[in-house]
């Protein structure tokens, strides 16, 4: 599904990713952990094609195809989804309107017919109920005045509706209390699918209690420095990132 080879990327001339190698097979959930500034969020932006990052070397193979030159919206339609650490607000645009615009834009890009309104409503209703997203929330402008938990649930709702092949979850646990964390994690777990890969980026182990990964990677100074099973997260929790500080410097 996802194969990153020797990925180097920089922003404003400063190299952040210094040769990332990573393979996430189809249907697996991988976690990336690491200290602040190790390049985790940059990796999520480079994967999703955000402007301003220069890929200076390496490849990102998605479904076997290099997507480094592909514009962000095409990657989205091809099935790359990023759940934002800080979801953006769009005043005056109802959440419902945004969902429909996004779903239809992707369908159009894939050459599929636009959803009929009843079909769209049914899909939203089903997905929203699972995530405790109320009708009232769907009518409010996108993320405007949403609590931290509401914003993250809204991200997972979008992921559920857009049905990506690869979901990158960037610090989805940040700003969540225990209850909200559980709701969001359950939402994510419900979307685990043999045809879908996930890359869960987090600073803390606690999210991985809820979303148990197949593999854990440790990122430091712009590279994957260690890979292991779920137990690696527990080890990091106990010992901290001190062992990797040397490589970060």
């Amino acid at each position: 599904m996802l194969e990153i080879k020797n990925l180097h990327a920089s922003i404003d001339g400063k190299e952040i990713l210094r040769g990332v190698d990573l393979i996430v097979p189809t249907g697996e959930v991988h976690a990336i952990m690491g200290p602040n500034g190790s390049g985790k969020s940059t990796l999520s932006y480079v994967l999703s094609g955000r402007d301003g990052y220069d890929v200076t070397d390496g490849e990102i193979l998605f479904d076997g195809k290099d997507i480094v030159e592909m514009p962000a919206e095409e990657r989205a339609s091809a099935g790359v989804f990023l759940a934002f650490q800080y979801p953006l607000e769009i005043p005056g645009v109802a959440t419902m309107t945004f969902l429909k615009a996004a779903m239809n834009a992707q369908r159009k890009a894939r050459g599929e017919a636009e959803l009929t309104t009843p079909d769209f409503m049914r899909r939203v209703k089903t997905a929203a109920e699972k995530l405790n997203v109320t009708q009232e929330m769907l009518r409010r402008p996108l993320n405007v005045g949403f609590s931290g938990g509401e914003k993250k649930r809204n991200e997972i709702l979008q992921m559920a509706l857009l049905e990506p092949k690869l979901a990158v979850l960037d610090e989805t646990d940040s700003g969540l209390d225990i209850d909200a964390l559980r709701v969001v994690s359950e939402g994510v777990n419900a979307l685990r699918d043999p045809g879908r890969s996930m890359l869960v980026i987090t600073h803390y182990q606690r999210l991985l209690d809820h979303i148990v990964p197949d593999k854990v990677h440790v990122m430091s100074a712009g590279r994957i420095v260690r890979t292991g099973g779920p137990e690696l997260a527990l080890e990091l929790e106990a010992k901290g990132y001190a062992d990797y500080a040397g490589e970060a410097a």
């Binding site: 953006l88 769009i90 005056g92 645009v93 834009a105 857009l162």
Partner: protein, 492 residues
């Protein structure tokens, strides 16, 4: 004084030239020669078969105009206009005054189609009966002469007069005499005075006492002659307890040379009357290098002359190279209300200096201003507004909200509010925000699969929602599309 002397000299010089070609007697010609003089004013008046009083009114305006200078206080920049290099009268090629739609040039009808006149209205223009329960009467203005006026008879049954102002001058001189220039005086400003001298045509609406106009009245403008100054003149009168909603929509084809458009719109609302005036303006804004485009210097003003009267302006401005426009309300009657809802979009090298004036004269008068300015490209977008309370305007209230949205980093948004209160009991509120479509907001939309153009359209439509909701339904959809089209290519 030298400048004025120069103008006078130029004018007399041109008079001589023009006389040489004998144009003054050539009433049949479709177009007056370039330039402006008393003879041109007489020519226009004669073309319209106007009564003497109208000619005198025009000549008086022309003489006053000669003594005036162009205003320079607005935040717009353009090369000096050579008023002698413009045509002040031009008629469309088709035979004037058709008796029915069959007589209308098919090319004109085809142009309506290109203009995107809603299907239903086109059907009405094409004479399809019962196209809709809610009918729209269209008084189409092509360059300078009203070509088609529909539903006139039916409106007449309700006692509503909706016709070309040139016709009103001939048919209803007493009403025209009473109200023309009563809201925007002949001497109001340089462009209004020029309009008073040379106005070509426009709409006249009269709603008698207690009548609710049975349909929305609509005028489409189009400038389609090279180098033609357009000087529309519109006068709308709502008698006691009357109601009317008037829609105005405009487009213009591509062209290189700048065109001057200086319209005057006067609204008069008597006791308990209400006038709703909506505009969608998308004249040619100039090319990507800022070449060409319409100069839109408009004077629009409504007079809430009677107690409890109400005037509401709604405008969506996307076109023109330069827009200079302040639809205003004089709240003269006690308990009268004025509203101004505006969306002004500028892209490329467009310059917009627009806003409103709410003049509170009567007691317990209320006004509301919602202005949304969107600047993209290298454009400049200024809101300029005045809210004032006269010393007798006790209990006057105003709420103003001015929001600006910037797209890119080469455009400018400016807000210039003037507030004057001479009455201690007046309550004026002003809110203003400036925001930018942030890169991360755009990226968020792209990441969900929207193209950058779809993303901008979505964000902008959210931004202008409060104003779009004020538009009549058929305009709202068109306006949203128009805004998206106007901002194409503003990112990426």
């Amino acid at each position: 004084m030298p400048a004025i002397q120069e103008t006078v000299d130029q004018v007399s010089q041109i008079d001589v030239d023009q006389y040489k070609y004998g144009f003054v007697t050539d009433i049949e010609s479709d177009r007056a020669p370039k330039g402006l003089s008393e003879d041109i004013v007489r020519f226009i008046s004669a073309k319209k078969n106007e009564p003497d009083w109208m000619l005198e009114w025009r000549l008086d305006a022309y003489r006053r105009w000669l003594t005036m200078t162009e205003p320079t206080w607005s935040r717009v920049h353009y090369p000096k206009i050579d008023f002698e290099d413009l045509y002040y009268y031009s008629a469309p090629k088709s035979t004037p005054g058709p008796k029915s739609l069959d007589e209308v040039d098919p090319e004109l009808l085809a142009m309506y189609e290109k203009l995107g006149i809603p299907l239903r209205e086109r059907e009405i223009l094409a004479g399809v009966e019962g196209a809709s329960d809610r009918r729209v009467a269209v008084d189409a203005v092509f360059d300078s002469v009203s070509v088609v006026t529909t539903f006139k008879e039916e409106l007449k049954k309700a006692g509503v007069i909706f016709c070309a102002i040139s016709e009103a001058i001939r048919e209803y001189p007493e009403i025209v005499k009473k109200y023309l220039g009563s809201v925007v005086p002949v001497t109001d400003n340089f462009y209004a005075t020029l309009n008073s001298a040379v106005f070509s045509d426009g709409s006249f609406v009269y709603i008698p006492e207690g009548v609710r106009c049975p349909m929305e009245l609509s005028t489409y403008f189009r400038i389609n002659e090279r180098n033609t100054g357009q000087f529309e003149r519109t006068l709308i009168i709502a008698e006691k307890g009357a109601y009317v909603s008037y829609l105005e929509g405009c487009t213009a084809p591509m062209r290189d040379e700048n065109q001057l458009h200086a319209a005057v719109v006067e609204l008069v609302a008597l006791e308990d009357a209400e006038i709703k005036y909506s505009t969608v303006q998308n004249w040619y804004p100039g090319d990507k290098d800022g070449k060409g485009g319409i100069y839109n210097f408009v004077t629009k003003r409504g007079d809430c002359r009677g107690d409890r009267s109400k005037i509401s302006w709604t405008q969506v401005e996307t076109g023109s190279a330069i827009t200079w426009k302040y639809p205003s309300c004089i709240l003269r009657g006690d308990d009268s209300q004025g509203e101004f809802y505006s969306i002004a979009v500028s892209n490329g090298y467009q310059q917009v200096d627009s806003g409103t004036k709410m003049i509170h004269l009567g007691k317990n008068t209320k006004s509301r201003i919602i202005s949304k300015g969107i600047a993209a490209g290298r454009s400049d977008n200024t809101y300029r507004g005045l809210v004032s309370a006269h010393r007798k305007a006790s209990g006057a209230r105003n709420f103003t909200n001015c929001d600006s949205l910037l797209i890119g980093d080469k455009c400018g948004a400016h807000t210039v509010p003037y507030i004057e209160s001479k009455n201690a009991s007046a309550v004026f509120e002003h809110e203003a925000t400036t925001s930018k479509i942030a890169d991360d907001q755009l990226f968020y939309c792209l990441q969900r699969g929207l193209s950058s153009e779809e993303a901008v359209a979505l964000i902008v439509n959210g931004f202008v929602k409060d104003v779009i909701q004020q538009l009549p339904m058929e305009f709202a959809v068109e306006a949203q599309k128009l805004i998206s089209i106007s901002l194409e290519g503003s990112v990426g």
